[in-house]
C-alpha cells in the first residue's frame, strides 16, 4: 500500500465516523464513533510527518478526554436521544447542500493552490520534541501563560455551575 492510499483511507474514515458521531442518537455510540475518527486522524498526522501531534492526539484526545466523556455519560446514564420536534427536511437538505458546496469549494482551492507551489518550508524538523518545547517556552510563552489562566477560569466555571446551592 502506498502512503497516499493509506492517507485517503484514513481521512475518509475520519470524516465518515465524524458524521456517524453527529447523526447517531445514542450518546455512548457517538463517543465511540468519535474515538475511531480521532484514531484515523492520528494516522493522517503520522503520514504528514508529524508523529508528535499523532501521539498527542491518541494520548490526550482519544485516551484522556473521550474516556472522561464516557465516564460522565455512563455516570449520568444519558438515555438515547428522542427527537421532540419533527425533522425539518428542507432545513436539512439546505444545510447538507451548503456543507457539500463549501467542501467542494475548499477542495478545489486547495488543489489549485497545491498545484502552483511546493509545501512551505516547515519551521520544525519533523517528529522532534525538543524544538516544539523550546518554541513553546520561549516565543510562545505568553500565550502559554494565558492558556493557564484560561484553564483556571474553566475550573472556576465548572465549579460555579456544578456546585449545589445550600440556600436556594
Amino acid at each position: 500500500m502506498t502512503p497516499r492510499l493509506v492517507f485517503d483511507v484514513a481521512a475518509g474514515l475520519a470524516i465518515l465516523f465524524a458524521c456517524v458521531m453527529v447523526v447517531h442518537r445514542h450518546p455512548v455510540k457517538s463517543v465511540l464513533a468519535l474515538v475511531v475518527s480521532f484514531f484515523a486522524l492520528a494516522v493522517t498526522y503520522v503520514l504528514l510527518a508529524a508523529p508528535l501531534i499523532a501521539a498527542v492526539q491518541v494520548i490526550v484526545y482519544a485516551g484522556a478526554i473521550l474516556v472522561l466523556f464516557l465516564f460522565v455519560l455512563m455516570l449520568l446514564n444519558v438515555p438515547e436521544e428522542v427527537r421532540q420536534t419533527p425533522d425539518r427536511p428542507i432545513h436539512q437538505a439546505l444545510s447538507a447542500g451548503a456543507i457539500v458546496a463549501f467542501a467542494a469549494a475548499l477542495l478545489a482551492s486547495l488543489r489549485a493552490y497545491g498545484a502552483t507551489r511546493a509545501a512551505p518550508s516547515a519551521e520544525l524538523p519533523p517528529g522532534d520534541l525538543a524544538p516544539v518545547a523550546r518554541l513553546l517556552f520561549s516565543d510562545h510563552f505568553l500565550s502559554f501563560e494565558a492558556l493557564s489562566i484560561l484553564l483556571l477560569a474553566a475550573l472556576v466555571g465548572s465549579f460555579v455551575l456544578a456546585r449545589r446551592e445550600e440556600s436556594p
Binding site: S109, Y113, T116, S121, E123, H140, A146, A153, G157, V160
Partner: protein, 482 residues
C-alpha cells in the same frame, strides 16, 4: 528571546488584573462570610489601579514596539481600548453590586470571572500574532460563557449560557480553521510578517477562503447578520448587568482584533473582503432595526438595537483602506460604550425594583416616579438614535463619512434611513416614560447604580457637546498605516 524590565512594565495591567482575580477568588474561598459589597469594592479598587497603570503606560516612552518575540504590542490603539474596556468593567461592577448580592450565588467567583474576562480582553487588543490573539479570545469567551449562566437556577440564564457556549465554540472553530489555512500558506503568524509576505506574493483562492473564515468567526463575536441569532436569547437570559457588559466589553475586544487583523495583516485584500463587509453591514442594519421595531420585550429590543449598531460600526471597518475608517470606528466605539451601557444599566435599575423590564409597559410613568432616571434614559435613547448634540451623533457622523470616503455612498444613505427608523422604537420607550400614567411610590436607585448611570450620561453628553478634544485624542490612537 530577550525580555527586559520595560517589557514586564508594559505587561503590568494584565499581570495585575490576573493577580487581582486570584486574590478575589482566594478571599471568597477562605472567608465564607465576606460581604458581597466588600468584594465588589475590592474589585472596583483593582480595576481602578489597572486603569491607572494603563494611563501611566500611555505616557511611557517604551510603548509602540512589539515585545515578547513579537507577540504583544502596547501602542496607543491598544491603550485606548484597554482604558475603555477597564471602564466598562468598572461600570459592570457598579451595576452588579445589588443585583448579584441578592441572588443565592457566591459573589466572589462572579467578580473573579469578570476580572479574568478582562484579562482576556486586554490581551486580545495587544495581540500582534494570530496565536496570542486566539488564545486571548478563548480566555475572554470561556469566562463570559460562565457569566451568562451565573444565575444557574433560572432556566433562561442556563439557556443563554448553553446557546452562547455552543454557538461560540462553533464560531471559534470556524475562526481557527481560517487561521490554520492562513498559517498553512504563509508559514508565519505575526501580523506585520503576514502583511510583508502577502505584499510580494500572488494571492490564491485558498488564502481568500482562509480570510473569509476568519472574518466569519469575528463577525459572530460582534453579532452581525447572519451570525447574530444567539444575541437576543443570550442578552435576554443572562443576568442583566452581564448583558450590559456583553453589549460593550467583548464587542470592543472583537472590533479591536478585527481592526488589527484586517488593517495590519490583510490590507492588500481590502478589495476582496470590502464588498462582503458592505453587504453584511447593510443586512445587519436593516435586519437589526426592523426586528427591534417588531419587539415588545425591552431586553430583546435592545439586543436587536445593538445588532443594528454593529451594522453601523462595520461601515468603519469598510473604511480600513484609509486611516479615517479606523479613526471613525474609535470615535464611534467611545460613544457606543457609554450610551449602550447606560441603557442596560437603567434596565438593571428597573429590575432591582421588582420590574422584569420585559415589556415597554414597565417604563410607564417613570418620569413621575424618578425624574432623573427618565431624563437620563431619554439622553441615552437620543444618543442611540444619533440625534445631536449627543455622543451617538458624533460617532455616527464619523462612520457615515468613512463609508462615503470608501466609496459606499449607498450604504451611508441606507444607514441614515435606518437611523430614522430606529427613532420609532426608541421613542416607544420615551413615550411610555413621559406620557403614560404612573402608579406606585417614587423609585430610588442605589448609590452604585446611580454612579454608573451618571458616568455614562455625563460621557454621552460631554462627548456630544464638546467632541473636539476627544476626537483629536483618538486620532493619535489610530494604528499607523503599515
Amino acid at each position: 528571546m530577550k525580555v527586559s524590565a520595560s517589557d514586564w512594565l508594559l505587561l503590568s495591567p494584565e499581570l495585575f488584573l490576573t493577580a487581582a482575580g486570584l486574590l478575589i477568588l482566594s478571599i471568597s474561598a477562605f472567608f465564607d462570610k465576606a460581604k458581597e459589597e466588600f468584594l465588589a469594592f475590592l474589585t472596583l479598587l483593582f480595576v481602578g489601579v489597572a486603569i491607572g497603570l494603563v494611563a501611566f503606560l500611555s505616557g511611557y516612552g517604551g510603548r509602540g514596539a512589539p515585545i515578547f518575540a513579537g507577540m504583544f504590542i502596547v501602542d496607543n490603539f491598544a491603550i485606548f481600548f484597554k482604558l475603555l474596556m477597564l471602564v466598562s468593567i468598572a461600570l459592570t461592577v457598579l451595576a452588579s453590586i445589588q443585583f448579584v448580592g441578592r441572588a443565592p450565588y457566591p459573589a466572589g467567583d462572579y467578580y473573579a470571572l469578570l476580572l479574568f474576562t478582562g484579562v482576556g480582553m486586554l490581551f486580545m487588543v495587544s495581540g500582534n500574532n494570530l496565536v496570542s490573539i486566539y488564545v486571548a479570545l478563548e480566555l475572554m469567551a470561556l469566562s463570559s460563557y460562565i457569566l451568562a449562566g451565573y444565575f444557574k437556577l433560572e432556566i433562561k440564564s442556563t439557556e443563554a449560557a448553553l446557546k452562547y457556549f455552543v454557538l461560540g465554540a462553533f464560531s471559534s472553530g470556524v475562526l481557527l480553521y481560517g487561521l490554520s489555512l492562513v498559517y498553512g500558506i504563509a508559514g508565519r503568524m505575526g501580523l506585520p510578517d503576514l502583511a510583508k509576505l502577502f505584499e510580494s506574493q500572488a494571492k490564491s483562492n485558498l488564502l481568500l477562503v482562509g480570510i473569509l473564515l476568519i472574518l466569519a468567526g469575528l463577525l459572530f463575536k460582534i453579532a452581525a447578520v447572519p451570525f447574530h441569532v444567539w444575541t437576543p436569547d443570550v442578552y435576554e437570559g443572562s443576568p442583566t448587568p452581564v448583558t450590559a457588559f456583553f453589549s460593550v466589553g467583548p464587542k470592543l475586544a472583537a472590533y479591536a482584533i478585527l481592526a488589527r487583523i484586517f488593517y495590519v495583516g490583510f490590507p492588500k485584500f481590502h478589495a476582496d473582503w470590502g464588498l462582503i463587509i458592505a453587504l453584511v453591514s447593510a443586512a445587519t442594519m436593516v435586519f437589526g432595526n426592523v426586528a427591534a421595531l417588531l419587539q415588545t420585550n425591552v431586553k430583546r429590543m435592545l439586543a436587536y438595537s445593538s445588532i443594528a449598531h454593529a451594522g453601523y460600526a462595520l461601515m468603519g471597518v469598510l473604511g480600513f483602506r484609509t486611516e479615517f475608517g479606523l479613526w471613525g470606528i474609535l470615535v464611534y466605539l467611545l460613544a457606543y460604550t457609554f450610551m449602550n451601557f447606560g441603557v442596560f444599566a437603567l434596565v438593571v435599575f428597573l429590575e432591582t425594583k421588582g420590574y422584569a423590564a420585559e415589556s415597554v409597559a414597565d417604563f410607564n410613568g417613570l418620569a413621575r416616579r424618578n425624574m432623573t432616571a427618565a431624563v437620563v434614559m431619554l439622553v441615552f435613547l437620543l444618543s442611540l438614535a444619533g440625534i445631536p448634540p449627543t455622543a451617538g451623533f458624533i460617532g455616527k457622523y464619523y462612520l457615515f463619512t468613512s463609508a462615503m470616503k470608501a466609496g459606499y455612498a449607498w450604504l451611508a444613505v441606507l444607514a441614515v434611513l435606518m437611523s430614522a427608523l430606529s427613532l420609532f422604537y426608541y421613542f416607544r420607550i420615551a413615550a411610555a416614560m413621559f406620557f403614560s400614567e404612573a402608579e406606585g411610590a417614587p423609585l430610588k436607585s442605589s448609590y452604585a447604580l446611580t454612579a454608573a448611570v451618571l458616568i455614562c450620561a455625563a460621557a454621552t453628553v460631554i462627548v456630544g457637546v464638546a467632541p473636539q478634544p476627544f476626537v483629536e485624542m483618538l486620532r493619535a490612537c489610530v494604528i499607523k498605516a503599515p
